[in-house]
């Protein structure tokens, strides 16, 4: 049916008249690419300082970026329709792997998150970061929007199942992230506000039972630490006290690149991964933070713009969800490092050191580019 929609009669003559640019031909969204290059370049700069001026770490991250950009460009070459067709298979595969993780997974610190296949470690949850929104968008794209109650339930089932499996690993952060990527599809699809308000009330109502039955002690500790970091200065509170100190002491101008005392003298933990924004804030000041946020904001706006201009509902929903998920990373990471949110393992997207998350994110941007560069169809 979606094929039917996409093959609505179009005025081929006008398309022919407009000679596609090279960027269009290679499915590259130039503004998005430039913004991503700016972001990753800025990130490498900060990483050099955050890793204790370790050029090796920068080169390693650079290599990840090269791989990720290639993945993105390759991903951009497939049409959104093809992603929609792949969605069910990808979803089923992902679900199968998540089940496998529970039985045969490896991991550390009491959580099983990885699958090891031929010496290659791999986290199925990463796959589902794209698999879930794709599947939900695929599922809803064939329905009349806004979706009816039954389809909302169906979509919730689609996103709930993998979230539950990831929660069992246990990995609350990723489960929430993946769940919300599906919910964002529903949101963009225009589900009634009564659902949204209802879900919000339900979330508040379930906070107390969740505290008692669901949250593990270490998770509760993180929330308590957020509320009062001084209660545990050397333990869980240490990170947050040190990151706030790093950020605050940066002031407007910052202490200068490579001159952040909190980060260079090892007071800041996880300075090159989850807490890298604190390094940036310390060394480049609020100026540097706002610059980063401006780049992020432009990327987000571009993402939403792509969504609004997408040719199909699938593309619109996908673009909206991917952009919102990207935003959630930013919000959660920056909020957690600044002591607004509890400490969860969410990296600062495309800035924190790490390979897998970078590839997943860039894959997402590849899909965005695919949506962005889909052949214009003029709907009469």
């Amino acid at each position: 049916m979606s094929d039917y929609v996409r093959q609505m009669p179009h005025h081929g003559s006008r398309d022919m008249a407009q000679r596609p640019t090279a960027a269009m031909r290679f499915h590259i969204d130039v503004p998005l690419l430039l913004l991503l290059l700016a972001l990753t370049g800025y990130g490498l700069f900060v990483l050099y300082s955050a890793s204790g001026q370790n050029m090796g770490a920068v080169v390693r991250q650079g290599r990840f970026f090269v791989v990720a950009y290639i993945v993105m460009l390759v991903a951009a070459q497939f049409s959104p329709a093809r992603y929609a067709r792949w969605a069910p298979a990808l979803y089923v595969l992902g679900l199968g792997l998540l089940v496998a993780v529970l039985f045969a997974g490896v991991g550390a610190k009491g959580a099983q998150r990885w699958l090891e296949i031929g010496g290659f470690r791999f986290q199925p949850a990463e796959l589902m970061k794209l698999g879930v929104p794709m599947a939900v968008a695929w599922f809803l794209a064939d329905r009349i929007l806004p979706p009816q109650f039954l389809y909302v339930l169906g979509a919730l089932l689609l996103l709930g199942l993998p979230s539950a499996l990831i929660l069992l690993q246990p990995d609350l952060g990723t489960a929430l992230l993946i769940g919300s990527s599906g919910i964002f599809v529903l949101f963009v699809a225009g589900i009634g506000w009564r659902y949204i308000v209802g879900a919000g009330l339900l979330a508040i109502a379930s906070a107390w039972p969740a505290w008692i039955f669901v949250l593990k002690d270490y998770q509760k500790q993180r929330i308590l630490t957020l509320l009062n970091p001084e209660s545990d200065k050397l333990g869980a509170g240490w990170n947050i006290i040190q990151s706030k100190t790093a950020i605050g002491s940066g002031g407007w101008d910052g202490k200068g690149w490579l001159h952040g005392t909190q980060s260079q003298l090892d007071f800041l933990p996880e300075s090159h991964t989850d807490f890298i924004i604190a390094v940036l804030a310390e060394e480049f000041g609020l100026r540097g933070v706002l610059t980063l946020m401006a780049i992020y904001l432009l990327i987000l706006l571009r993402g939403f713009w792509i969504g609004m201009r997408a040719q199909t509902s699938f593309g619109r929903m996908m673009a909206g969800s991917l952009t919102l998920t990207f935003f959630v990373y930013i919000f959660v990471n920056m909020g957690m490092v600044a002591g607004l949110l509890p400490v969860v393992g969410v990296p600062l997207p495309l800035v924190s050191a790490g390979g897998t998350s970078v590839v997943t994110l860039m894959l997402g941007f590849g899909i965005l580019m695919a949506i962005s560069t889909e052949k214009r169809m003029v709907v009469s």
Partner: protein, 613 residues
């Protein structure tokens, strides 16, 4: 009812999704606004707070404790120095679980309960990132054990600190006093800034009296540290000012002579230079090894010292109040001469006892038991001093009356603290009718004046008071406050002069004459001291009763318990024509003055030998 068939409307869907996307943009902008305002709050509004905190993380002010001043004797012999000692300290900020770390350390090296207790106390007063000492005086082996295991236990610091050391231990224990760990009471009174990084303070004696001079002034350095506590560089440094080196009047050889001569008997010797008021020797036996106190004495050692029947912690020289006995007679004799009641030629009949007019009670002379009669039918002042005639002084005291006796003796410093430069000094008692009314609410009885005439009854003096009075006597009235301190960093310090004791020159001569007879006269009570003597010594023996002897009873040294025997006393100065040393000696339960007199000879011989080279 058939449902109306709704068809997919791409344009409507595009509008729906478009509207939701716009909503999403608004929400995203709001959320990023919250984030931006949070960073604004931290970086602009609370900037100062966090800047200070990050500086506090990075820069630690470390106190540099000053080196304590050294103490020398008059000839430059080192009496108190500082030796490097290895200390294990912990930086609590760098230790996750203090309990576990302490347990691990305890498994490696010995930690006593006292160590832990002290550590807990000091933990409370410690400043952030300042190492808190746990164990002092680490042995080589303990240092090695810690070094090997240190990597597993962050926050451990082993460093060398200078610790007080007393090379001569017990010999100078009461003369110098000692330093010890700062306790809570001292903590409250201290200049907190200046004692940051200092763990020891003068507890008693010269070490306490001159604490301010000996301690010095603390220095500081600002160190840049990383999170692991490694000092990366020193940013700023104010060096400490070391404490001042003190030279005391004490003479090692004289002190040693006194200490050896006292041997294992309980007693005290104080020797002074009458020309300067300087204390040449101050011995109180038994003493103790002051080094034990430097790092906190063990409970066991401390209770042994505290509970010993010989009270070794008691400084008999300044705290011991003894009846001075007959050593008072020269001073009372001078009072008699000055009052005009007697002249050197005045004689008193001596049947061996004395009776107050209208009273049947007999006051015996000590000679009665030995000779069955008095010293001579008529006794003059010279003989009264030489043979220590009680009857002469009974009579003189009665005629003087207690209050005039008090007024003549007070200028010598009896009954009041000498204000010597050490601690724990007591004042002794110089009785008067007023004193008795005020302290005992009782009238003075005439019989008590008789006792006072021979330095018994209520009269009490410390060995230091006796030595100081003897020095004043030796210098014909020049009265100085007894002083340990001779020079500070090599610059001499004068002993403060007090109101001199005035007396006619012939009266001083008469007293000196009597005291010379004690040693050099044929009938002197210490005539045996003059054997082989190369100078002239003036002295006066004394015996102080420890238990009262009832009327008519006789004291028999052989029959009384050792602890109940009389105290033996002796005061002396020499050389007679130009005295350079005055001594006071007491030997507790020595039986009589003969226990004390040889000590004087040993001390004075040593001093005069040193003087002439």
């Amino acid at each position: 009812m058939p449902q109306p068939i709704t068809l997919k409307d791409p344009q409507l869907e595009a509008r729906i999704i478009g509207a939701r996307t716009v909503t999403a943009v608004v929400l995203v902008l709001a959320a990023l606004g919250i984030i931006a305002s949070r960073y604004h709050t931290l970086q602009i509004e609370e900037f100062e707070v966090y800047r200070t905190q990050s500086e506090r993380n990075r820069v630690h002010l470390q106190p540099l404790p000053p080196k304590r001043g050294l103490i020398f004797d008059r000839n430059g012999v080192l009496l108190a120095d500082n030796r490097p000692s290895f200390i294990l300290s912990l930086v609590p900020e760098r230790i996750d679980r203090l309990e576990d770390t302490l347990a691990e350390i305890a498994a490696l090296i010995e930690l006593s309960d006292a160590d832990l207790e002290r550590f807990t106390k000091e933990l409370k007063r410690s400043r952030p990132y300042q190492p808190v000492p746990l164990r002092f005086r680490l042995t080589e082996e303990e240092r090695a054990l810690l070094a090997v295991n240190q990597h597993r236990m962050p926050g451990l610091v082993v460093d060398a600190q200078l610790l007080r050391h007393y090379p001569h231990g017990e010999l100078f224990s009461h003369a110098l006093g000692y330093v010890g760990r700062i306790n809570e009471q001292e903590e409250a009174l201290l200049d907190e800034t200046n004692y940051r990084g200092t763990f020891h303070i003068g507890k008693v004696g010269v070490e306490k009296y001159y604490e301010d001079m000996l301690h010095g002034t603390v220095g500081y350095q600002n160190e840049e540290n990383n999170a692991h506590g490694r000092v990366l560089r020193v940013l700023e440094r104010t060096p400490p000012t070391p404490g001042r080196d003190l030279t005391l009047h004490l003479d090692y050889a004289v002190q040693k002579a006194a200490f050896d001569a006292l041997g294992d008997r309980r007693g005290a010797v104080v020797a002074m230079d009458p020309r300067s008021g300087g204390i040449l020797a101050m011995v109180s036996t038994p003493g103790f090894d002051t080094n034990l106190f430097v790092n906190g004495i063990s409970t066991q050692d401390y209770s042994a010292l505290r509970d010993s029947i010989d009270v070794p912690l008691f400084n008999r020289a300044v705290q011991g109040s003894y009846p001075p006995g007959s050593t008072m007679k020269p001073f009372i004799g001078l009072a008699g001469l000055e009052s005009g009641l007697v002249t050197p030629e005045t004689t008193v009949p001596d049947p061996g006892w004395y009776r107050l007019p209208g009273d049947s009670r007999k006051y015996r002379d000590w000679i009665l038991r030995i000779r069955g009669t008095g010293h001579a039918p008529e006794v003059d002042l010279k003989l009264a001093i030489a043979e220590s005639c009680d009857v002469y002084f009974y009579d003189l005291a009665r005629r003087l009356t207690i209050d005039r006796l008090h007024d003549y003796l007070a200028p010598f410093g009896f009954g009041a603290r000498t204000d010597v430069d050490t601690t724990t000094e007591r004042s002794g008692v110089l009785p008067s009718t007023r004193w008795k009314r005020e302290t005992m609410a009782q009238p003075w009885y005439p019989g008590e004046t008789i006792s006072a005439g021979i330095g018994q009854g209520y009269m009490l003096a410390t060995p230091l008071q006796l030595a100081s009075a003897t020095a004043t006597l030796a210098s014909r009235g020049e009265h100085r406050i007894p002083r340990f301190l001779k020079a500070v960093d090599g610059a001499p310090v004068e002993a403060p002069l007090l109101e001199p004791v005035t007396a006619a020159p012939e009266n001083w001569d008469a007293i000196f004459d009597g005291m010379r007879e004690v040693v050099h006269g044929k009938r002197g009570t210490a005539e045996y001291l003059s054997d082989g003597i190369t100078y002239e010594m003036a002295g006066k023996t004394g015996t102080a009763q420890v238990i009262g002897i009832a009327q008519g009873e006789v004291y028999d040294e052989e029959q009384v318990d050792e602890r109940h025997r009389h105290h033996g006393l002796f005061i002396a100065f020499a050389p007679l024509e130009a005295p350079t040393i005055a001594v006071a000696i007491i030997v507790e339960n020595g039986g009589g003055s003969s226990a004390a007199t040889p000590i004087a000879r040993a001390v004075i011989d040593t001093w005069l030998e040193g003087e002439t080279g």
